[in-house]
Every structure is written in structure tokens, then in C-alpha cells.
Symmetry: C2
Amino acid sequence: MYRKEKAVMEEKKTQKKQKNVSQKVIERLSLYRRILQEQLSAGNSNIFSHQLAGYSGGTAAQVRQDIRVIGYSGSTNGGYSLAGLIRSIDEFFGASRSQASLIVGIGNLGKALLSHFALRSLELTISAAFDNDPEKTGTLIEGCRCFDVEQLPNIAREQNISVGIIAVPPEAAQETADLMVRAGISGILNFAPVYLDTPEHIFVDMVDLTMSLEKVLYFAYNRDGG
Amino acid sequence: MYRKEKAVMEEKKTQKKQKNVSQKVIERLSLYRRILQEQLSAGNSNIFSHQLAGYSGGTAAQVRQDIRVIGYSGSTNGGYSLAGLIRSIDEFFGASRSQASLIVGIGNLGKALLSHFALRSLELTISAAFDNDPEKTGTLIEGCRCFDVEQLPNIAREQNISVGIIAVPPEAAQETADLMVRAGISGILNFAPVYLDTPEHIFVDMVDLTMSLEKVLYFAYNRDGG
DNA sequence: CTCTGTGAAGGGATTCACAGCG
DNA sequence: CGCTGTGAATCCCTTCACAGAG
């Protein structure tokens, strides 16, 4: 298969840059979108770049550069129209936001993710869950049907799902990824602390909880040269 | 207090760079450490930079640069000694790895985090959990005692805890952060989809699940210009 | 005036390329 | 030979600074 390791050696992580838009920009656009939505719900209609910067932890210049990427224009007096900017971000994201995803591994983390996305946003949805525990398969978790892992390929293709979330123990992560790849998935969100070996055309993002905590511990402990 | 928003405007995110060591490097060192440990458990004793790169998704040059930061040296024939490199990373991290942390919010995500860190690593530990639900306080979850949030300041100071994990609903995130700051915490790992307004000297890292999924959806959908 | 839009400058991080060593 | 260590080059991202518009 596509085992890297020794063989590939000096390979670059050609992490799908696609339209020359960096991951960082996409991340911030997603963040902006949520903030804009909140502002809209709060009854506002406009926002300035420096305000959006304040709410997102960036700078005004960066906000303007990001917005430039999606080709939206604000007005020089009123700043940006909340509704207009949201619509523009949505157009930029295209159909991607409305795609459903699936998850494998219904442990504590899997359940947490299911409830997270069931509660928030009606748009981002997990439409199928998988596990190999017979106790779980067939049940409904946070409104999401749980199937046996064996059914993943069929369901993924039937529902035309292109993103899979991995929330299984580390030992099972690579085989789960392999299964997803065979099932035609093209993006993986991996919560297992294992680097996944996948073909070039698969986009993989890893959320490493241990690493995150270790980082905070480091910077908290070594703060201000203390 | 330290409300930013409109007031501060053009403020930079002076995210504690401390000893000139970037967050990225710390993240990778944490990742390397885990890989090295696995290799050691697998009975190996040495590793080459290109192997470590393969297992971590980076390049050999980058691995060598990272290792340079911590001042470790390998040998030109055998590569790096697993035990030696692990020891060197540990020395670099100093006492930070052995610090305990606390968590607020024992919902699905909180439980998932508690079990994640209870299972893996005996070193990274969450030593106290907090919630405002009387049903939960007083109980033991994944071996961790759950207290009422009001007790946080006392316990944080008693046990000298410097890192807090936020796993509460978004509405409660800022007040939880404020409470942690008052309790003397210096690092926060935030899972709530809210940008936290905190004093300069606090290190904050945010894990935004919605953003992560949205990013994968975007790159999966718009892959290879498709 | 204050705000956006934008080319250009600046800073970091990654990669290159090669000296040196076993 | 193949590997590490390392300065230099490159690339990418962020920030600056100012023109232009209201």
C-alpha cells in the first residue's frame, strides 16, 4: 500500500493547499463566521476590522487580508456588513460546509463529539457513527444511528460522505484510516495520537489532546522566564 | 478588568514566546517524545532523523533543526539514541510535564478528557474536576474527584495547580477563565468555541472542534481542484 | 477624520546544501 | 557512502504604511 516510513524518506507534507489558500486562513474564516453570526444574533448589522480582530484574537490588518482572500469588500464608513460577509464566507466555503461526515469510535470522545455537533450548528452534522462493540451498534446516540464498522464502506458510498472522524484507540487508528480510504473518503479528522499514513490525495488533520495539554503546561510553567 | 475588544484594538497576540522557542517546536517535541517512547517499547534503541520524520509527518531537516533547539547531539553513524533523546526532551521540558492540571465542566467532553489522560501517560494528570451540577460534585469520575466550582480557588492554590482546562458550554467559558485567573492559574486549554479575554501573562491555547471539522470539510471537498 | 484595500516590508519557519565525521 | 550539524536561502505569513473613499 502506501506505507511511507523508511521508503519515502524525504517526502514533503504536501498537505493539500489546493487553491493557494492556506489552512490558517480557512481556520480563521471559520472562526470569523461564528463571531459574525453571534454579532448578527445580538442584533448588530455591521462590524469593523478592528472589532473582529478583538473578538478573534488577531490584528485588524490580518482580518482585512483574510477578507481580501474571499473577495469581499466592506464600506469605508460602516465597516463590513455582517450578513454580507457571512454570505461571502459561505460562498467561499461552497458546498463543503453542508457535507455530512461520519465517525468511528463511540467511546467517551466519540460521544462528546456527537453531542458537540448535535447541539451546535444545524449545518455541520455527523450522519453516521460506527463501532465494533455489538452493545453499541444498532442504538441511537445523540440522535445518530450507530452501525458496525463493517458497514462503513456501504454507508459512506450510499450517503456520499467524504469526511471521516477517527475517535478510536491508537492501536486501531491506522486500520480505521485505511478502511476510510478504501471507502472513498477524502478527508480525515484524527483524534488518535498516531500519525496516519495515507495516500497523497487524502487531507488529514490531527487533533492531539496530549500534545495540546503538554504545550500549555510548558508555556504556563516557563512563563515570563519563570 | 482586562477587557480587550474595542479598547485595545491594535493589540498583538503576544502569545508568550518565552525562551524564543516557538509553539510549533514544542508541539513537535511532544510528538517526537511519544514516538521515541513507542520505538523504545518496541525494542529499538536508535533512530535516524528521516525515520522520525516519517513517523511524525515532517522532514528530516526539520527534525534535525528541532533537535538542535534542545541541544542534543546524535552520532553520525547510529543516528539518535532513543533513551538519550527522550531524556534530553524531558530535561528541556523541565518540571512542566509533571505538573497536575484541573478541569472545569464534566459534560461529555470533560469525561472524555478525564478518561483520555487517565488511560494514557501516568505523567500528565488531571488532579481535580469541577462542575456546578450538584449531581456530579462529590463523585469520582475516571478516578478524579469532582468538586463544586466554588472550591476551585482553594484547591488550585492548595495543590499549586497552574493549568486549567475549560470544557464548559460557551456561555460559561469567559467567567470560568476569569475564575481560573483569579485562582492563580497561568495556562488555559480552552475547548469552548469562544475567544477568551485574559491578561497578558496567561498562556491560552484553544482547541476548536467546529473549526477543525470545517477545515477538513473544506480541504476534502476542494481537493485537487475538484 | 476614520475606515478599507493593498503593495511592500519584515519576521519566522522550513528547506536546502554542504562540511565534517565515522 | 550515509548520516548529523549548520549556516544560508527560500518560502510563507504577518504587519506596516499609506492611498483612496466617504
